[in-house]
Symmetry: C2
Subunit: 475 residues, 2 copies
């Protein structure tokens, strides 16, 4: 591990943290940061710095970071833009190693004054050596070490596995919430905004080296140094699975990005060429970002296109088969032996043992589930299993057989747990959201990749399939 890695790693392991800009005004941002760290049990001292002299309940409070008796390794700064340079000078004097600058109103504003202020902040970083994340950012979420930027961000059991750099705060916590719901375990998430100092290139190199990080996610809007970012993307992609969402691909998207983080966009062709060289998985939405991470972590590697679709409604299965074709998959006939096995399990009117498999009324026959999934798992003609459970089919039965949905879900779970082939579970959102969300969490907790849209699941599966194909070719 090189020295750059160790220096950045310090930022994620401070002995103590000061949050600057606290006051007793309701909704004060610094207090939100304080609570966010406290909720996740940050182990070291947490200091509130309240320049106006307020006393923040539950936290040792000082007027200036230099009044803190012990060392301060890291600070989060949430003061008005006008006071930022002064506060940075205070931090330098206190020998703070790194700061997150939440304050906004710089290059993203587009006005010359903001640009100039940002230039001064950058100069301060260069001259003092203090490491800066931001400005105009949410900073660090590293639940394993109790660092966070919103009190409602979830704890994660163990060190997690996914690290994520995001130029946008909204894109950062959006993906954290969504990922948490679907069982992704985040290691480190960094919202880095206008990147006056640390940004895309440094974070990519760090995550590429970081042993806790198994998959890297990135939301990028632009950069001031395209060459370094491009090289870092290629280095990171060579070492770990890298999933990239680019904000600002269209002309107006670029304009929007400029007024969001002040980043320079670059052309779509340039970006996409870099992503290709990096072997990155390029996605279009935050749901796909999370979905790709899920498929990478929850499914064994797969390169085959041959999908078996299993549903409890024929009409839906026809449509899903078309969608599979659209997203690059085949839905081939199963081996004759597999059809025989399925027929032994269920052969009643309305069902189909041909791919796509329509269990129809046979979904009520829970004891056959293990045989059905064993047959599909052993089928030599198919590479992956796409299970769609349309919960709305159970809604009415539930009304006179309460518990049927949970029983059916538990039966599915028991059967698919034994499957070795790549498998995803899709629970389309139609009606009965309460039952659906409970089923979703059942499969999520058991470690399956769960989706709520057939199209999204297939799109993401195909992106990851192509990634594994590229990786295999390189081996």
């Amino acid at each position: 591990m090189n020295s750059d890695y160790k220096k950045l790693d310090q930022i994620f392991h401070p002995r103590s943290i000061a949050i600057i800009g606290a006051s007793n005004r309701p909704g004060n941002a610094a207090v939100v940061f304080l609570k966010a760290h406290a909720v996740l049990n940050f182990a070291g001292p947490l200091y509130a710095i309240a320049p106006n002299g307020d006393q923040v309940p539950d936290f040792p409070t000082f007027k200036n970071v230099n009044h803190v008796p012990g060392p301060v390794d890291h600070a989060v700064i949430a003061v008005p833009a006008a006071y930022l340079l002064e506060v940075l000078s205070d931090c330098v004097r206190k020998k703070v190693n790194s700061v997150v600058i939440f304050t906004s109103g710089f290059s993203e504003s587009g006005d010359p004054e903001g640009m100039e202020k940002e230039r001064l902040i950058r100069a301060k970083a260069r001259e003092s050596g203090i490491r800066m994340i931001g400005p105009n950012c949410m900073g660090i979420y590293y639940p394993h070490n109790g660092m966070s930027f919103r009190p409602d961000l979830p704890p994660v059991e163990g060190p997690g596995e996914i690290s994520y750099l995001s130029q946008s705060g909204g894109m950062a916590f959006g993906a954290v919430f969504l990922g948490n719901r679907f069982g992704l375990k985040y290691n480190k998430v960094v919202s880095f905004g206008n990147e006056v100092d640390l940004g895309g290139p440094e974070l990519l190199d760090y995550f590429a080296e970081d042993p806790e990080t198994k998959v890297i996610l990135a939301y990028l809007e632009g950069t001031r140094d395209g060459r370094s970012l491009g090289r870092a993307l290629i280095r990171a992609g060579a070492r770990k699975p890298l999933v990239v969402l680019k904000g600002g691909l269209t002309e107006t998207g670029v304009r929007a990005a400029a007024s969001h983080t002040g980043a320079l966009g670059g052309s779509r062709a340039t970006w996409e060429s870099v992503f290709r060289q990096a072997g990155a998985i390029q996605v279009d939405t935050v749901d796909e970002l999370v979905g790709a991470a899920l498929v990478l972590r929850r499914l064994p590697k797969f390169t085959g296109r041959k999908m078996v679709i299993i549903t409890i409604s024929g009409g839906l299965s026809v449509n899903f088969t078309d969608r599979a074709g659209f997203w690059g998959f085949e839905v081939p006939e199963l081996a004759a032996e597999t059809c025989q096995k399925l027929k032994r399990s269920f052969d009643i009117p309305g069902t189909s043992v041909k791919n796509p498999i329509d269990m129809a009324a046979a979904f009520m026959m829970f004891p056959i589930y293990p045989d059905v999934f064993r047959a599909l798992d052993e089928d030599p003609e198919t590479d992956l299993i796409f299970l769609v459970i349309s919960i709305e089919f159970l809604a009415y039965i539930e009304s006179f057989m309460p518990g049927i949905t949970d029983n059916s879900m538990n039966a599915f779970l028991g059967a698919i747990k034994e499957v070795k082939k790549p498998l995803v579970v899709v629970l389309p959102s139609v009606i009965g959201e309460e039952l659906r969300l409970r089923a979703e969490q059942l499969f999520v907790k058991a470690g399956f990749a769960v989706f709520e849209s057939v199209d999204r699941a297939m799109k993401v599966l195909n992106l990851v399939r192509r990634y594994h194909q590229r990786s295999k070719r390189k081996e």
Copy 2:
């Protein structure tokens, strides 16, 4: 109105209905049909026909339809395939005008015996003049007249406005549930399965003429008479907005459709050429089918591509702008005057009054909402408003300001109610599903087109925009 119309219209207005195949066995399908009609208050007598001599509680029960003392205009048949012909002869003797045949096990099974049985049913229809829907179908949902095929299908206030023919039962009730959730008011839904007699062509002609039907939806897998279906599609499309979902577009999809309803597929190119000639809106999924109907009914006609996007998170708005570009929209700069007006409403750090508009922290300033939406409505540079409310932004604030989400939603609702431009509301599903679903229902009940996915909303908007463009060109 021609005589064909009147004859088909009789099917939807029977004086009395017999449901044949009832028994006291739990889960008996005929009893489910009986309850479905009873729940929606079918006005005439409902007879249970129990060939095994059982007495069905709550319904006058007979062993044979010919034992019913009064007339029987319509019957739903749910007997095993082996008894079907005999039961049909009973119905002919009773002078039943129309039957829905729920029974399956015919051409969709692929075996010669099933094919032959289906041929005999068809011959019976020809020879007797009795009108048949099915076999292998769910039949009719016409809540305005108390006809239904599942006891949990919702009532609809008034006659409704959307009619839907579906070759698949699952695709029929899937769209009914989903549509009901999003505020679509169905008039008539017919699941018609193997179409031995009445099918695509007849239903399309009927809905085209039917004054209660404002928009026609169709899920088609195939047909035995491509020429009539094609002509009927073109006739229907010339009279009313027509949204089509084709099951079996890919090679395997066609195979799946054949084993589902025994329909002959035809080539994708042929189908798509007919859809084009019909001026139909072709969609890819059931969500899009419902979404297109929503946009057709809830938004004024629009042909412009210029979209204003308004969000409460900058990072998301950059991504949404890219997606708008992908789906054929422009996100242009607003008129200078509009920006001035918006600046008067909110001009605080982190917000952007440029398109895409990022309300950021200004979303807490409820009193400005009406001015903001009035400015967007009056903006001369844009054609439609795309409002994305990311409920996850409110989740934390909700924890210390309970009620903030509802207050914010009510403020949005009050402001957008006055908007005359086409407007959609998107509530992406991330976390806080309970709050999100409550907000969804608030906007749905107020008559707005609501989506839970930005991509789906934009795809559907563009499909409908192009439909209006084609219609305008024809005028």
